[in-house]
């Protein structure tokens, strides 16, 4: 199990590395002339490529972060219910909040 989790975290780290780079490049590109909500939504609203990209980003975080948190909790405290519960909670929060945000910028806040 430990080996499979490590594998999942490694693969998701590769995806995250790529996603973070693209995300940063877009940010640098986008803030050249200031930044407004309309500008962001104008770019992302109805743009399926943006939605797919950010959902992949969310899924990679969903895999990566909870495994890391569980490792830290297990090493700092002990292996057991608390580390599993907290990392599962983080996983669910990332998935729900992240996907909500992706849907939000895709639809422009009106479903």
């Amino acid at each position: 199990m430990q080996a499979k989790l490590w594998y999942a975290q490694r693969i998701s780290a590769m995806v995250l590395g790529l996603c973070v780079s693209i995300h940063l490049v877009i940010i640098f590109y986008a803030i050249r002339g200031g930044l407004t909500a309309e500008e962001i939504l104008g770019r992302t609203q109805g743009n399926i490529a943006f939605a797919v990209f950010y959902e992949i980003f969310v899924l990679a975080c969903f895999v990566h972060a909870p495994i890391g948190l569980a490792n830290i909790l297990e090493e700092t405290f002990s292996k057991g219910f608390i580390s599993k519960a907290l990392s599962s909670l983080l996983a669910v929060l990332i998935l729900i909040l992240g996907t909500t945000a992706v849907i939000g910028v895709y639809t422009g806040g009106t479903l």
């Binding site: 430990q2 080996a3 490590w6 292996k79």
Partner: protein, 274 residues
């Protein structure tokens, strides 16, 4: 008869000369001089304290020379472990000025801070007495990581032919010179925080054996190093690699194991799936 008497007298005189000479040197050593080293040595077992000794400074003096001087001239009750004195056996490792090292291959001049040395037993191992630690746990973990060879050939079979340039042989070569001194184990912060962790030496040995094409217990070994106490617990901090007196890279061996084990768990390996 006269001859014998003369001999006895001569013996007495020469003994006296030797005694006087020795005593004078001894007295000289005892006196505080500019060239004396202030050496703090751990005395006791798990509970204990540092005791300070004054040891004369010599050119090319090793830390092991200092410890030996203390035991032979100042306090014969001091316990420590050594054998070869030339960096072959790996038994004289201690914590000197906070860092685990071979005492026989460490010159005082390389590490002395002002005129002080602090000599303690290896970290992460139970102390038996003074500078001698109980290494059982360390070697049990080698066994735990299936860090021993098992083949399927007998003396009646032909030699196994391993191409020296083959990738497996090259990978095994990189880590094979380990002599089990425990410096890496004692320097590892993961061992410190997670006492069940197999540690760099055992995992390095496991890695060299996974690259031994003659060995027949590969899946058992992968299973042994795959658990919570195995290779994936390594934080890749690299203290083992930095401190290894043989300049081996246990960190690289462990990352080799990480990849191999993870792949075997997800996609399977040439020996089967985990």
């Amino acid at each position: 008869m006269l001859d014998m008497e003369f001999n006895i007298k001569y013996l007495f005189i020469s003994k006296k000369i030797i005694f006087d000479l020795f005593f004078t040197i001894y007295r000289y050593n005892q006196a505080m001089s500019n060239s004396d080293l202030k050496v703090k040595v751990w005395r006791g077992a798990q509970e204990g304290e540092f005791v300070e000794y004054l040891v004369p400074r010599n050119p090319n003096q090793t830390v092991l020379d200092v410890v030996t001087f203390i035991q032979r001239k100042l306090d014969p009750t001091l316990s420590y472990r050594f054998a070869c004195r030339v960096g072959m056996c790996g038994s004289c490792a201690m914590t000197v000025n906070g860092v685990a090292r071979w005492t026989c291959r460490t010159h005082v001049s390389q590490i002395v801070e002002g005129d002080s040395l602090e000599i303690a037993p290896l970290n992460n191992l139970p102390v038996i007495k003074d500078l001698a630690t109980d290494m059982r746990e360390f070697f049990d973990k080698w066994k735990g990581a299936v860090g021993f060879f098992k083949g399927d050939k007998t003396r009646h079979d032909d030699f196994a032919r391993v191409e020296p340039q083959s990738p497996e042989r090259q990978l095994a070569n990189a880590g094979i010179e380990c002599i089990g001194c425990g410096v890496c184990y004692s320097s590892c912060e993961v061992v410190q925080s997670r006492p069940n962790y197999l540690g760099p030496a055992a995992l390095n040995r496991a890695w060299t054996l996974t690259n031994d094409v003659r060995d027949v217990q590969q899946l058992d070994r992968l299973r042994a190093v795959a658990g919570d106490e195995g290779c994936h617990a390594c934080h890749t901090q690299g203290s083992c690699t930095e401190r290894c007196p043989k300049k081996l890279e246990p960190t690289a061996s462990i990352s080799g194991l990480k990849k191999l084990v993870a792949r075997a768990a997800v996609r399977g390996s040439k020996w089967g799936k985990l």
